[in-house]
């Protein structure tokens, strides 16, 4: 359902050309949970930007659900992102001074959904990530884990087919991290394709497939044998999922 065909991305930094990606081929099946792993500077973020339609490749093509998107205009890409792709970032990227509910409503605003319908769907998405009682809170009144769950609710609210998570647990303590991974695995069980970009082997092993990338090339593509299920890790650790998780020890 998502395919990158020999995509390359080349940046010009002064007089030096930096090849962030060199003819990468990658296909992600519908409903798959996949991790892209590599050290920093390997090109994994660039790859995520390309399959997340935030950027266009220098050469090669990206196909989402049979639709060639690499030649689309920025506005057309924005519309496809809005409908089909949800993003979860390492640093949450919520709008400050804006309530959790309004943050989750944001993609629906740009999708042209009317006010009451928007609130209803945003509320449902926040309930799904266990934040039904935090609708009116501002990001700075929420713990890191709660903020990331708001971000996941925002990614879900448009019913996307893919959720892209860039180091989703990078700024979280371990128990909040487990919560977030649990939610991502739940989403995947409900049929949403989940792609995680990480340099952490533990995080990557929550998915069913790991693509290793180094120096702009895919070096290994493996199926995960001993998959970590966050739900099982979580149960003995914490009982209440609404505990503020930002104060890790």
């Amino acid at each position: 359902m998502l395919e990158a065909r020999s995509v390359s991305k080349c940046y010009h930094l002064g007089e030096v050309d930096v090849h962030a990606l060199r003819e990468v081929d990658l296909s992600i099946c519908e409903g798959q949970m996949l991790s892209i792993m590599g050290p920093s500077g390997s090109g994994k973020s660039t790859l995520m930007h390309l399959i997340g339609l935030l950027d266009r490749p220098t050469s090669g093509s990206v196909v989402v659900e049979g639709e060639e998107v690499s030649r689309m205009t920025p506005n057309e890409l924005a519309a496809v992102r809005n409908r089909r792709i949800g993003f979860v970032f390492q640093s949450f990227n919520l709008l400050s001074r804006t309530t959790a509910l309004a943050n989750v409503e944001l993609p629906l605003v740009y999708a042209g959904v009317s006010g009451s319908e928007r609130t209803r769907r945003a509320r449902a998405a926040l309930e799904r990530v266990g934040l039904a009682d935090r609708l009116g809170h501002l990001p700075n009144q929420l713990s890191g884990g709660q903020q990331q769950r708001v971000a996941i609710a925002r990614a879900l609210v448009t019913d996307p087919s893919i959720v892209l998570a860039d180091e989703p647990t990078g700024n979280l303590d371990s128990s909040s991290g487990v919560e977030v991974m649990n939610i991502l695995q739940e989403l995947n069980e409900h049929g949403i394709t989940v792609v995680i970009v990480t340099h952490d082997d533990d995080v990557a092993r929550h998915s069913e497939r790991i693509v290793h990338i180094r120096d702009g090339r895919i070096v290994r593509d493996e199926a995960v044998t001993a998959r970590i299920l966050a739900a099982e890790v979580e149960r003995p650790a914490t009982t209440g999922s609404d505990e503020p998780g930002g104060v890790g020890l």
């Binding site: 924005a78 990227n93 605003v109």
Partner: protein, 396 residues
């Protein structure tokens, strides 16, 4: 995304930086208030002068020495080679039909003294027809008669301000008034007419033209005023006066009807009003630059927000309209407050200067402030809308 939504986002963003928004608006508020206030003064003065000229009656023809139509010398002034004298006024009176009244006018400064009270004032002198021509009304007493004009009697009619200053709570009739060192008898007291920018008529004294010439030591007269018997005859009288004076003066005199005088004043005051509006407009422009400045700051501060909005699906025009609406809201709200402030200021100033808040000034100020918002908001908004989402998300 619809316009209502854009407005909500813009207003929320402005509310988040209240002090900054208010200060930015202040630039527009001052500009718009200045436009409203200065134009109000301009129009008010114009109305007042128009009113006071029209108040003289519509049948008047004014004759001045010097040619106004040439526009004068390099400095724009009018050189007067020869002033009128009483003989010229007599000539006009004799040659015109008796039904038309001719008044030679002399104006000049004077110092008044009664006991130890003194004041400076202006003399307006004419002949026995002055009362009919200028439709004077007397609080008490009478105007000067023909015999007093012929004899150059030292009689004087005083305006109401003069009475209040020199004869407070007294009946001035028959009292002695010292005018520039000579003793005059007060014979009349004119009804208060209110202030006027053409010269405060309440602050004047009136006397026979011959008396005034002696007092001022001159045989010149300032102008000649002719009142045509009917309004239909004004143009005919004007042409007759021209042909009477041409042999003696050539082109060196000007005859203006009431309408022409009005037109002249209105042209001058209209230009003045536009100039005032222009000066005020510059401050509005400066206010607009303030908006642009703050919007540019706002765009770079909110780079990350723009990145987030783009990542979740905002298109170029969504971001563009958000920032343009923000700038326009600043300028429009500033414009409305400025209009209110300018109108309030005009109402307060009314005590000293005639003011009139005109619809066109309000419309112009409002349109201009909205235009300033759009003009100065578009560039920062364009900058915001072109941001690369990846760059914007990376921005700290």
């Amino acid at each position: 995304m619809n316009v209502v939504e854009s407005f909500r986002i813009a207003l929320r963003a402005l509310g988040a930086n209240k002090v900054r928004s208010a200060l930015t608006m202040l630039g527009v508020i001052i500009g718009v208030a200045a436009v409203i206030l200065l134009v109000a003064i301009g129009s008010g003065v114009q109305d007042e002068i128009t009113g006071s000229i029209e108040g003289l009656g519509s049948n008047l023809v004014f004759v001045f020495a010097g040619n106004f139509e040439d526009g004068g010398g390099p400095g724009g002034g009018i050189t007067i080679r020869r002033q009128f004298t009483l003989e010229d006024a007599d000539l006009v009176q004799r040659r015109l039909d008796d039904r038309h009244a001719v008044v030679p006018i002399v104006q000049g400064p004077a110092t008044l003294r009664v006991g130890n009270r003194t004041m400076r004032t202006t003399i307006a002198a004419g002949n026995e027809f002055s009362d009919t021509v200028f439709t004077s009304e007397y609080e008490s007493g009478r105007g000067y008669r023909r015999s007093e004009v012929v004899a150059a009697s030292r009689v004087v009619v005083i305006g109401s301000s003069v009475r209040d200053r020199l004869f407070p709570n007294q009946d001035p009739l028959g009292r002695t008034l010292n005018v520039s060192g000579q003793r005059f008898t007060v014979i009349g007291h004119v009804v208060a007419q209110g202030g006027s920018l053409t010269g405060d008529q309440d602050n004047q004294i009136y006397m026979p033209v011959t008396t005034a010439q002696r007092l001022l030591g001159s045989t010149d007269i300032s102008s000649i005023v002719v009142k045509a018997d009917t309004a239909d005859e004004v143009d005919a009288v004007k042409h007759q006066v021209e042909s009477i004076l041409r042999p003696g003066f050539g082109d060196e005199f000007t005859v203006l009807t009431q309408d022409q005088t009005l037109g002249l004043f209105q042209a001058i005051l209209g230009t003045l009003t536009f100039m005032l509006a222009g000066i005020a407009g510059i401050s509005l422009l400066v206010g607009g630059i303030g908006i642009m400045n703050i919007m540019l700051v706002s765009v770079s501060e909110r780079t990350r927000e723009i990145g987030i909005r783009k990542a979740v699906g905002a298109r170029t025009h969504d971001i563009m309209s958000q920032f343009v609406i923000e700038a326009v809201s600043l300028s429009v709200v500033g414009g409305v407050v400025g209009i209110a402030l300018g109108a309030a200021g005009a109402a307060v100033l009314q005590q000293w200067v005639p003011t009139e808040v005109t619809v066109w000034a309000v419309g112009l100020a409002f349109t201009f402030s909205a235009a300033v918002g759009i003009f100065f908001g578009v560039y920062p908004a364009y900058k915001a809308s072109r941001l690369d989402p990846i760059e914007a998300l990376r921005y700290e």
